[in-house]
Subunit: 429 residues, 2 copies
């Protein structure tokens, strides 16, 4: 491996990887070989080997044996001398140079050529951030008594409302792709008390914005025997902290390559009630229209993100108590403040990253909530059954994985942190 | 928690859970409280508390404080005395008794009432087996240098062939649900060398058998820089061993509750070439028709499973070298034996559990393979690009999670080990 080359100084080793770059000077050539974790410099003195490599396009796959020599100038502090090179696969030239610090192409071109573009060290490092965060999410919750579940992605009806679902032809019937595991994860609280799932969700939102994807990875958790949404926020905070604190050790040099700016995360994440947040943002933005919105606008969220950093030294801000009218039917109201809920959002650097809250847990409350919204309880019969048969007070949250990676790495568009993004215009690769 | 009650002997504790069962004797009542991990016996002396509990249906949710008293007769070796009981949620009576050793209902009834049925201690224990196996799969591969990936489930075309895909209405266009992450995980070998994914896959097979589901969890891995399929089998064997060896510690008493019979897994899993396996099974079954089959019949697989246990003391058997005609276009041929492939199956107790093998890695070989099968290369352009731009020799495997859990627990039907199964007739719950 490229990363532990220095530990083999003086030895003969075999490395394999991709021809990242080759430069031929007058008497010596420098081959940079890329493997899964980094780059290795190979010094080529032998003219025949020079001719062999010089005749290959970048991205050809090579096996190289040689002697490891310490060299503080080389990436990783060591390089390979006296190489014997075997060609495993010849390549045609890549559509853009992978050895430059950034890909010199527009995003659509990069996405069209994802199988090659993803090999760029800085691009792929972002996907290692995603892998590390997902792994820490699971490890933290498993350590906290949560059980992993696998819920169906093909469902008979829309999860939360009738809008924005993809219909499937299911053996001649119409089924839908699940917008979230919400209903199933709640039911599973009745089985395991605390559950999580890391799986794709599907939203047929016809927006084409940098902040939306039609398929993304949702990191979901749900837990029972809570007092209210604050118990959910406590678990979310601890989980996020474990995810973020784990990045440096898990990623090593890829942390910087991915462009991660470690977030400011004080011992207690600040929180603010929705009504206060709205007033504050409207005042801060000098825009009274914000006062009459039933939700926070993206501009308000950005302003609140800056405010939280300035006033509380935090890149994260909880906004609690969203109005009941803006939250789904399963939302638990705030018992002390009519019209407001025990639902919250977590903003990260001014973008909604997590939605969560306490849910209803009594079947009579569900029936009333559905009736009030004019929703038919019949298709939800199986779900209501769980509550009829005894469910504890519970709540949960869902983290959008791509949004978290984008905010950590400074990517302006979620498509930059998604391996093969799906949007209204893009189905391949 | 129910599981560590004995460590609190002599203390006052608060427990919360479900009313699993209540039995009133003449002067004393026994409440069995169920939480996420087990059962606790609560001794009820107080007549008022007796009346309260006696008036509740099973599955009501309770909070109970009381004193922990060691009692070797009680589950977990301790019980609760002098309880103060608070009702968190009242339930209606469950459709079947959850306190009996097994659910006294037919499978369709059990599946219809999954939100309640899954609470049965033996039923839910099987799903903890699934969670433990998935976690160990990831941990073992991560420790072996693999990177987790998230590939799209909405795809423009069928993954492997045109058959058995679910069409989606994707903003007015037809897209499909991915049958596997095969093409994407191969492409990602070009990025990370070694990758894995644990995600749902979708097969529109119109069979209604105990061995098929239309949505299931696939544990996928793919690795580069192999010599041939034997390197893939070595990783698979090590991964499976870690998954199975980890079960007792991860599950504790749930291992027995789930009905797990730990498999016989010798230091080396036996392997046999397809042609020899077919001859042996035909001979063993006394059925010459098997000799003319291009694949192993379920009867042959069962016979071979018994043979492997008898002759090699192994519940697992690799069958290698399947005929090229029965494997997908990306299959690498056996360079030494025309007509046969470097593809393998792993049988577990006579059932196909894993399919894997070496893949083609040169773009010219792909073009030839597609032409030979009369397949149009155009929709696969993005995939072929990866090979044109340099891919190493590679291969991989896919484990069907539900099949593994079913074979371990002795479940006759995959629906018994799937939280909310999807089949040609079932879309709810």
């Amino acid at each position: 491996m490229s990363t532990d080359l220095i530990t083999h100084a003086g030895q003969h080793v075999r490395l394999a990887g991709w021809l990242h770059r080759y430069r031929q000077l007058s008497h010596v050539g420098f081959l940079v070989l890329r493997d899964a974790r980094g780059l290795v410099q190979v010094v080529v003195d032998d003219p025949e080997t020079s001719r062999l490599i010089g005749g290959l396009a970048n991205e050809s796959v090579l096996s190289v044996t040689g002697q490891v020599v310490a060299n503080p100038q080389a990436p990783g502090g060591a390089e390979l001398h006296d190489p014997i090179v075997t060609v495993l696969s010849e390549a045609i030239p890549p559509p853009f140079d992978l050895f430059r610090p950034a890909l010199a192409a527009q995003l659509p071109t990069i996405l069209d050529h994802a199988p090659v573009a993803l090999r760029h060290p800085a691009v792929r490092a972002r996907h290692r951030v995603a892998a590390a965060l997902t792994d820490s999410f699971r490890a933290s919750l498993t350590g906290d008594g949560f059980t992993e579940i696998h819920t169906p992605k093909i469902v008979a009806g829309a999860t939360e409302s009738g809008a924005n679902v993809f219909p499937i032809d299911y053996f001649g019937r119409t089924a839908y792709l699940a917008q979230s595991p919400q209903l199933y994860k709640q039911v599973m609280v009745g089985v395991f008390e605390r559950v999580f799932e890391t799986a794709p969700v599907f939203r047929a939102e016809p927006h084409d914005t940098p902040r939306h994807l039609n398929e993304y990875v949702s990191l979901d958790a749900e837990l029972g025997f809570i007092d209210d949404h604050r118990d959910v926020m406590a678990v979310l905070t601890a989980t996020l902290r474990a995810m973020i604190d784990g990045l440096p050790e898990r990623l090593g040099p890829d942390l910087a390559l991915a462009g991660v700016t470690m977030p400011a995360m004080p011992a207690a994440i600040p929180d603010i009630h929705f009504a206060d947040a709205r007033d504050l943002a409207a005042d801060g933005l000098g825009d009274e229209r914000e006062l009459h919105e039933p939700d926070l606008s993206p501009a308000s969220e950005r302003w609140l993100g800056e405010w939280a950093l300035r006033e509380h030294g935090s890149d994260f801000l909880y906004v609690t108590g969203y109005p009941m009218g803006k939250r789904p039917f399963y939302t638990h109201p705030d018992p002390e403040r009519p019209g407001f809920s025990n639902g919250f959002d977590l903003l990260f650097r001014g973008l909604e990253l997590v939605t969560g809250g306490q849910r209803l847990h009594r079947v009579a409350d569900y029936r009333a909530a559905l009736a009030e919204r004019g929703m038919d309880p019949e298709p939800l019969g199986w779900y209501l059954d769980a509550f009829a048969h005894g469910m504890p007070p519970h709540g949960g949250f869902a983290i959008g994985l791509e949004r978290l990676v984008a905010r950590l790495t400074g990517a302006a568009n979620l498509r930059e942190v998604t391996l093969f993004p799906r949007d209204i215009n893009r189905l391949t690769p």
